[in-house]
């Protein structure tokens, strides 16, 4: 049995390369561009897409608060420059009619992060925690998506009847409105 040691790679570009490889091979997304935007008005580490979304990826290599701000600035830049982006990329490369999704990869997140983002942002966000193990020469990247965000729940259309059946609570007499209010209260 081999125990893999947690390592800290100091070169941010190397971490971004490792994450980009995982985005392609692990998530199956297509990377359209690296480091798009500018340092003054906002930038995105990786612009990627699949058949239904555009992903604005920010990879935290230092401070999470800086990375969050960077992700929000990158999102702002993307929205403000959508016309320009539509002109310079071919529709076959990326379809800008797809909804944008903020994707943040970080080595750690505070426990309340999903709640904060849920209330603070209109945009859809996916959070991934990564861990680099092994050695500097032969690093292994492990990534897990944080569960329980509103995105995961909201991704599927709200179907109270199906939910009641799934949970076996049909006999309890819960109304659709009551279920909706319950979910809102628990997410508050």
């Amino acid at each position: 049995m081999r125990l893999l040691k947690h390592i800290n790679i100091t070169d941010p570009a190397r971490v971004i390369r490792l994450c980009a490889q995982w985005i392609k091979e692990g998530l199956g997304l297509r990377i359209v561009e690296y480091r798009i935007g500018n340092t003054f008005t906002g930038s995105i580490d990786i612009l990627a897409t699949d058949s239904s979304n555009i992903y604005l990826v920010t990879i935290n290599t230092d401070s999470l608060s800086d990375a969050l701000l960077s992700a929000l600035r990158g999102y702002g830049w993307f929205i403000e420059n959508l016309d320009f982006l539509t002109r310079i990329y071919q529709p076959s490369e990326i379809d800008f009619s797809f909804p944008p999704v903020l994707m943040i990869l970080s080595a750690s997140f505070p426990p309340e992060i999903t709640s904060i983002l849920r209330h603070g942002l209109k945009a859809e966000v996916r959070l991934f925690r990564y861990l680099i193990l092994g050695s500097e020469d032969d690093p292994d990247l492990y990534v897990e998506e944080l569960g329980g965000t509103h995105i995961a729940v909201d991704a599927a259309p709200f179907d109270p009847a199906a939910l009641k059946q799934e949970l076996g609570i049909e006999k309890a007499g819960l109304t659709d409105e009551e279920i909706r209010e319950f979910l809102i209260a628990m997410r508050a």
Binding site: L163, K171, G173
Partner: protein, 278 residues
């Protein structure tokens, strides 16, 4: 040769369980204490895990017996693996005349009687109520009902006065728990419900989750539920299940055992507190 209940079962069974800080008061060994004389029923339910439900039932029965309460268990588990008698296998005696009945008899503690109703037991009983045998002395007794499908239990007209509901902290599990509480409330406004979070996920603020959950119930149903804490799982829990020996008998440090003991203490405190109410 028939196996008979023996007086001496070895030092491991004696254990610190019987030498612990449980209130012995001024009673002689074996004498039962109770704060009330009315027989009571407590249903234990864990929609997400029948095994954990039975684990809690078995351990709670032993802890209550340690506090000199007369306990019987009515088990309606749906599988052999999750039956209370299976989980208490190492300390169990079978009734030779009736394989559906079993006992736990430990030194100086009130006998715990276990009745295996089986998955359809509740419905059979409803059809033939005369077959439901009363306990030899129901005075001050506490019946723990290990009911796999709580909503059916209540709808079939067998509600309890008190419930412990174990739930995970994800939205769906909490919604299912809320549905159960709504039905309990509809069938008996004086019922008491105690919520236990089963294995609250690391990083979740269980107290905050409970505050939101209880707040919604209070606002919507005008009903208060108690919080009996989180039941975290450790490696000793797994071992106790495989060794068929309830965890409260384990003579060592275990966060799961501590949580089970705390649930029992809160239950007893709650019971005593209610008597103090004007």
């Amino acid at each position: 040769m028939k196996e008979r209940p023996k007086l001496g079962r070895g030092l491991p069974d004696l254990s610190k369980f019987f030498l612990s800080d449980a209130s012995y008061q001024e009673h002689e060994a074996g004498e039962v204490t109770s704060t009330t004389t009315e027989p009571k029923t407590l249903s234990i339910c864990s929609p997400g895990s029948p095994l954990i439900q039975s684990v809690v039932t078995a351990n709670l029965a032993l802890e209550l017996a340690r506090h000199r309460r007369l306990v019987r268990i009515r088990d309606f588990s749906t599988s052999d693996e999750t039956r209370v008698s299976t989980l208490m296998g190492s300390i169990l005696f079978r009734d030779e005349g009736d394989p559906g009945k079993a006992f736990v008899r430990l030194y100086g503690l009130p006998e715990i009687r276990i009745e295996d109703g089986g998955p359809g037991g509740l419905w059979k009983e409803k059809e033939s109520p005369h077959e439901a045998e009363p306990y030899r002395d129901d005075t001050g007794s506490l019946t723990l009902v290990n009911a796999p499908v709580l909503l059916d239990l209540i709808h079939e007209g067998a509600p309890s006065g008190e419930y412990i509901i174990l739930t995970m902290t994800d939205e769906k599990s909490l919604l299912r728990c809320y549905a159960s509480i709504k039905v309990i409330h509809a069938h008996g406004e004086s019922s008491r419900v105690h919520v236990v979070f089963d294995e609250a996920v690391h990083g979740i603020d269980a107290d905050t989750v409970f505050r939101k959950f209880a707040g919604f119930i209070d606002e919507r149903l005008g009903f208060e539920v108690d919080y009996f804490g989180s039941l975290l799982h450790d490696e000793h829990l797994e071992r106790s299940v495989s060794e068929k020996r309830p965890l409260v008998l384990f003579d060592g440090t275990s966060i799961t055992k501590d949580a089970l003991i705390r649930i029992c203490s809160l239950l007893l405190e709650n019971d005593e507190g209610r008597l103090m109410e004007p």
